[in-house]
């Protein structure tokens, strides 16, 4: 404590000694002196339209709780994790942050996020589905309030299907390969319309569809905390990727690049009808709609993930988002933050029994996760694009949440991409992927010995 204070005094002295000219800036940014008013902040990666909706919810809350002010901060997805982490090292940490569930174990390990109070824990336990609630839990302690849930399905362009004389989406890998061949158009050696699209340069966009195909082939990335990329099911999935690109040649990997904002060629090519099928998550509905217009968007349909030779049925991969509270915030700020979150995600804040959060998520076409929200939105979830996703919720398997999960995902991403771009054979990529996963998870596990991280495998 004294050490820190001396550091700051030194810094302040230094500032003055160095240059007096920064005084104006320093005073403008000094936090206000404490009072009974509480000011908390909410960090999100949402776009401005969605932030505007959150702002109106904040305003409504402020009306009833005039002493609590909530300030919204927004960063791009690509900067979100760094921001949550970076600020934990400093004093400007956001009180509330919306995070991707995969990041939770490490944030808990590093003491970045605070455990939920009992009332919130009980709320999460009783009002959310078990798998969603478990994603917000580490070693039996609840750390966040889940909000959105996302899962993967096969999106296809009905118009291109009709042009190719195909009446139904593929249900198996064999049908997938056959249909994709019919849907692929070539211009000399280059593919001008690809039958099946694969995403690259974006970790989740590469690994989640792969994991969905693997799950639909009866396999999983991680079983009981150990990587199982050496299974027969995984071998078949890696081989499928090689076949798509090198065998039947229905995928042009250069048409699937994503940029830092999870947009780019993969999205543009699907929007412009140059990709006939792709495995993507429900949340890209709004991006498709704005890119295609309502008329062309009506051609896009959703189907279950095609089932592999060793699979027992279609299984999607799901993941969730949640809001967490900074462990660095003061007790008053933490209390205000949890109260705000309970209200925001509770049944009284939104329209007709839904939560305000559900209303916000629905504006983006994202599925809410609270049981009462799903019930309140049943009617509107029945629209053609979304229906296909909702139907798969029951079959969905949560993406494995482990310490080192992000690093594991990025290592696997690299091996999958090396197959796509012909830099490695399926067999070699599989071997490397398994070895890398073992070393990453062993290291992450070693680093957390004693703190125990929850692994909610399948």
């Amino acid at each position: 404590m004294t050490k820190i204070r001396r550091g700051r005094a030194l810094a302040a002295g230094f500032l003055v000694a160095g240059l007096a000219l920064s005084g104006g800036v320093a005073s403008a940014t000094t936090p206000p002196a404490g009072g009974e008013n509480v000011k908390i902040s909410f960090l999100t990666h949402w776009g401005p339209d969605t932030v505007a909706l959150l702002q109106s919810a904040v305003d409504a809350y402020h009306q009833d709780h005039p002493n609590v002010t909530v300030e919204i901060k927004a960063v791009p997805f690509g900067d979100l994790l760094t921001t949550v982490r970076a600020q934990a090292g400093g004093s400007a940490a956001p009180t509330i942050a919306g995070i991707y569930d995969l990041w939770l174990p490490e944030l808990v390990r590093d003491g970045v996020v605070a455990p939920a109070p009992d009332a919130v824990s009980q709320d999460v336990g009783s009002n959310w589905g078990a798998s969603t609630a478990s994603a917000a839990t580490v070693a039996g302690t609840v750390y966040g309030v889940p909000n959105e849930i996302d899962l993967y399905a096969l999106n296809y362009n009905k118009k291109l299907f009709a042009d190719a004389g195909i009446t139904a989406p593929p249900a198996t890998w064999d049908e997938l390969l056959a249909d994709a061949q019919k849907l692929t158009k070539r211009d000399g050696d280059t593919i001008s319309q690809q039958g099946f699209g694969l995403i690259n340069s974006w970790a989740a966009g590469v690994v989640h569809p792969f994991a969905s195909l693997l799950a639909s082939n009866g396999g999983s990335l991680i079983t009981d905390g150990k990587p199982t990329l050496d299974s027969k099911q995984a071998t078949e999935t890696f081989a499928l990727y090689e076949n798509l690109v090198k065998g039947v040649k229905v995928t042009d990997p250069t048409m699937g690049t994503a940029d830092a904002n999870t947009a780019g060629p993969f999205l543009d090519n699907f929007v412009s009808g140059k990709t006939a099928m792709i495995i993507m998550a429900n949340w890209w509905e709004s991006a498709l709609k704005s890119g295609m217009g309502d008329q062309a968007f009506a051609d896009i349909a959703t189907a279950p993930i095609p089932v592999g030779p060793s699979g027992d049925g279609p299984h999607s991969i799901s993941y969730s988002w949640m809001t967490v509270v900074s462990a660095k915030a003061s007790a008053a700020e933490q209390a205000a933050a949890w109260d705000f979150l309970s209200w925001l995600n509770g049944p009284t804040s939104g329209k007709s029994g839904a939560s305000a959060m559900a209303d916000i998520l629905q504006s983006m076409g994202i599925l809410p996760s609270r049981t009462s929200d799903i019930a309140a939105y049943t009617d509107r979830l029945n629209r053609p694009f979304m229906e296909g996703y909702v139907a798969q919720l029951a079959n969905a398997k949560p993406f494995p949440i482990v310490v080192g999960g992000q690093e594991f995902t990025e290592a696997l991403q690299k091996q999958i991409e090396s197959i796509e771009f012909g830099q490695a054979s399926a067999a070699d990529a599989q071997k490397t992927a398994q070895a890398d996963a073992e070393s990453i998870l062993a290291k992450a596990g070693g680093a957390t010995a004693g703190t125990t991280a929850g692994t909610s495998g399948g």
Partner: protein, 272 residues
């Protein structure tokens, strides 16, 4: 004949160099439909400033400009003051270890910022200035290039001038800012442009310090944010408008100060 050939080369070179920025300006005036069109539309049929209005609203351009101006302005002022003082000492004073100290200062000029980023970002948090403009500014108030530049130029200032001022009873502080500084105005102009533009454009450090505090974002970071709001290709006009807004201020400053800059760069590049 040869003249025609050379003139052609010149025109081609100018067009090639200017093309990306011209494309940016044209792109910012296109409609969403034109932005999405394949093959690309070169000339907007109905130039529209709509994209600029959208961008101004989405990323609060005014506030971003203000933040950029504070970061670049205060940092530049700091660099000018510290560089003049240190440059004067290195050029005109003799003391033990002067050359070694100067060499050490110059060496920091060649250090890639990433080498110190991790501890520096942690230090900024420990000092309690993360997430604020002051945290962006503080570590950059002294600059090795500035010290180097000022020393080179002040070396050329005649000793007689300084001695005469001393005989008149001027303090050393007064000599630096009232006697020496006016004689090295071209270098000061060049350093102003260099520092201002560098810190206006700087991205990695503000991103690291300010993360998430979008109120404090300079225009370059707001531009990065803009990308995530404009996912599909039809919003390319907005992205281009944002880029154009970020590009304009440094470009204008360059046009105003360019003759100093080019001349000074010439001198330091060679006498160093």
């Amino acid at each position: 004949m040869q003249r025609v050939g050379l003139a052609t080369v010149l025109v081609v070179a100018c067009v090639a160099v200017a093309f990306p920025l011209v494309w940016m300006m044209l792109g910012s005036l296109k409609t969403p439909a034109e932005s999405l069109h394949t093959p690309p539309v070169w000339w907007p049929a109905h130039p529209s400033a709509e994209a600029y209005r959208t961008v101004a609203r989405v990323v609060s351009v005014g506030r971003s400009f203000r933040n950029s101006a504070i970061i670049a302005g205060v940092t530049t002022l700091g660099i000018l003051v510290t560089s003049l003082m240190a440059g004067y000492v290195f050029a005109k004073y003799r003391f033990r270890g002067r050359n070694a100290l100067f060499a050490a200062v110059v060496a920091t000029m060649f250090l890639p910022p990433i080498v110190t980023l991790i501890p520096l970002y942690r230090m900024i948090g420990w000092l309690g200035v993360d997430g604020r403009l002051i945290g962006v500014i503080l570590p950059n108030l002294a600059n090795a290039f500035g010290i180097f530049l000022m020393r080179q130029f002040i070396k050329g200032v005649p000793d007689e001038l300084i001695d005469a001022a001393r005989l008149d009873g001027a303090s050393e502080l007064r000599i630096v800012f009232r006697v020496v500084a006016p004689t090295v105005m071209p270098a000061i102009a060049a350093l102003t442009l260099f520092a201002f533009v560098y810190h206006w454009n700087s991205y990695l450090w503000p991103l690291t310090v300010l993360q998430g505090n979008t109120d404090q974002y300079p225009i370059v970071l707001s531009l990065g944010r803009l990308l995530s709001y404009t996912r599909s290709a039809q919003n390319t006009n907005q992205v281009m408008a944002g880029a154009a807004l970020a590009v304009l201020p440094p470009l204008v400053l360059f046009v105003v100060l360019q003759r100093f800059f080019v001349r000074t760069l010439a001198r330091t590049g060679l006498t160093g």
